[in-house]
Amino acid sequence: MSILLDKNTRVLVQGITGKIGRAQTKWMLEYGTRIVAGVTPGRAGEIVEGIPVFDSVLEAVRETGAEASVFFVPARGVKDTAFETLEAGIRLIVVVTEHVPVHDTMEMKTAAKRVGATLLGPTTPGVLTVGEAKMGIIPGNLFPKVPGPAGVISRSGTLSYEVGGILAKAGIAPSTVVGMGADPVVLTDLPDLLRFFAADPRTKLVTIVGEVGGVQEEMAGEYIAREFNKPVIAYVAGRSTPEGKRMGHAGAIVQRGMGSVESKVTALKKAGVAIARTPAEIGDIARRLLG
């Protein structure tokens, strides 16, 4: 068991003929992902890493039964691509692209909610189910071959790699690692991702890797207090962030008194979440909680 993605999921890669699309397709295939098709408009008939390329999502779905899609398309094309993909019936989409205009994201989120689709991102490293498959850019070699009991949800890409590795080192390997995205508006909220882990029998605890900015961690606190029954560990990055400074990610900013580490930690603590002050502490806490 896992969430969102396993080795049988039929994956489509959009923007497969680009430099990053090609390179990442190779890594995803090597990890075991069942990639069935690629799409780049105008490039139908080409083959990338043995994968057939189609002009449109609809054709790719019709020909290959693709059921999940990962985007390596430029920011300005993301909204259009998302609408095309939703219309073709795909209900799991990973938007790796950074710098997507937030007004586009709001429109995508409205559309995704209407049809009940799960979209990760924008600015997400994607999702990796240990030992099975990955959509996105999470490096597979940082994780053990065999899945463990720890679900990971992270706003940051690189930090999810570090935390996944720390958990594995502590002997509590990850089950599925999910990047929720680092923009001010994310397409699927943290409580909705926690719901997937709630329903996954393999996952015995969840680690939330948060950061300054936005209100996702606060929303998660409310949800966990209300109905989440597995132990949760959280680390929130950016303790020493100066107010009003954007820390790399479009969404990582303490602004108008909102989005501080303190506010997030308070909300999570109130829900009974174990707080790690540094990423390395996550390993010790996980051992204690499952020991």
């Binding site: 690189t158 950016g238 020493s240 008194g257």
Partner: protein, 378 residues
């Protein structure tokens, strides 16, 4: 990117929002010449990109020509909250009977636009939301939906307005919402929206903060986003394509992601003092890392460098060559520690260690900070 008040005011005016006549002046003569169009009494406002200008001496009222001259001169020679005043906005002073607040912003929880109407203006809206939530009325709009006239009127009615005033306030809300969506703003705000004794409305301030990520499709907006960033190293970073925030310590940091960068800053901060936050995002090349390394070492007083990279989307083995080239050119003698993991990590380690960089292969950033402390002898 935050727009200057006069730029936002012009956009609001074009959208049909009533804005008192104004002129932008860069010297006292221009301010006096403006009086032909604006007429005394006027408000002279420093055009600097910070809030609360009134409290910090950035706004003056002038009743005579001499007054306009003197006060413009005084403002142009001054700085407001650390920012030098290079131009002022000379605007007709309107007789205010009552102040309101109107704004549109992004609600990160809903992933939607929140339209706000406050029955007290001149407020700090976040404080008002906490302390007097009953005085702030809001409506959520899910794009691509628009704010409709009847919805805006319902909001104004809910806030206690009726008759002509209710209709006028609703018109302002609808226009403001349109500007917000058309310019792809993060914040659009009129604070205060002035009501005169005869119930005329005037936007006597204008705030517009637009999404940098959408600027590519907005040629109508000012093109000098870069020049508006305060710190020279932050500007240089943006040119390279990385993200830099200046901090007040002496340990340089280079990370390949924002979350990792913040966590590294946290961990370094427990024992040493970070000189900066720097994250490259997903665009690492040899050239980018070469420039980035130079940039971080540009800051005077840096006495140690911590490099923390993951090869996910990034070709870190290429980046390593750029780092080594820059370190060589700068003849760096202080400790440099690198933790670089992921795709092609072994090649990366080989390149860096040949140049005298200490390599940490443990996954924790703590291990890298330990190594740096050991080499610094602290």
């Amino acid at each position: 990117m935050r727009l200057h008040e006069h730029e936002a005011a012009r956009l609001f005016q074009q959208a049909g929002i009533p804005v008192p006549p104004f002129v932008v002046a860069r010297n006292a003569d221009e301010a006096v010449a403006a009086l032909e169009r604006v007429q005394i009494p006027v408000v002279i406002k420093a055009q600097v990109l910070v809030g609360a200008r009134g409290k910090h001496g950035g706004i003056a009222v002038a009743e005579t020509v001499e007054d306009v001259k003197a006060k413009t001169q005084a403002l142009l020679g001054s700085s407001v909250r650390g920012l030098p005043v290079e131009s002022v906005m000379v605007a007709r002073k309107v007789p205010i009977a009552r102040e309101l607040y109107v704004g549109a912003t992004i609600d990160p929880a809903a992933g939607a636009v929140t339209v706000l109407l406050g029955v007290a203006g001149g407020i700090e809206v976040e404080a008002a939301a906490r302390e007097r939530p009953e005085a702030l009325f809001r409506r959520t709009v899910l794009p691509p939906e628009e704010l409709r006239g009847y919805q805006a009127r319902a909001l104004a009615h809910e806030a206690g307005f009726s008759g002509d005033l209710m209709v006028k306030i609703a018109d302002v809300l609808v226009s403001l919402f349109r500007v917000f969506r058309r310019t792809e703003a993060l914040i659009a705000e009129i604070n205060p929206l002035a009501v005169t004794a005869d119930e005329t409305l005037w936007a006597v301030d204008a705030v517009l903060d637009v999404d940098d990520a959408a600027l590519f499709r907005h040629p109508e907006l000012p093109a000098d986003a870069l020049a508006r960033m305060e710190h020279p190293l932050e500007q240089a970073a943006k040119k390279i394509g990385v993200s830099y925030v200046d901090l007040d310590g002496d340990i340089g940091i280079i990370c390949s992601g924002a979350g990792l960068g913040m966590a590294t800053m946290d961990v370094v901060g427990q024992r040493l003092r970070p000189a900066n936050f720097l994250e490259t995002g997903g665009g690492i090349t040899e050239e980018l890392m070469y420039k980035t390394t130079h940039l971080v070492l540009e800051k005077p007083g840096v006495r140690g460098l911590l490099i923390n990279l993951y090869g996910g989307i990034n070709p870190i083995h290429e980046g390593a060559k750029g780092i080594v080239r820059a370190l060589g050119e700068r003849q760096v003698k202080f400790p440099v520690v690198a933790k670089a993991l992921g795709n092609r990590q072994e090649e990366t380690w080989a390149t860096l260690s040949e140049a005298g960089v200490t390599i940490v292969t443990d996954i924790t950033t703590e291990a890298a900070v330990d190594a740096l402390c050991a080499r610094l002898g602290s």
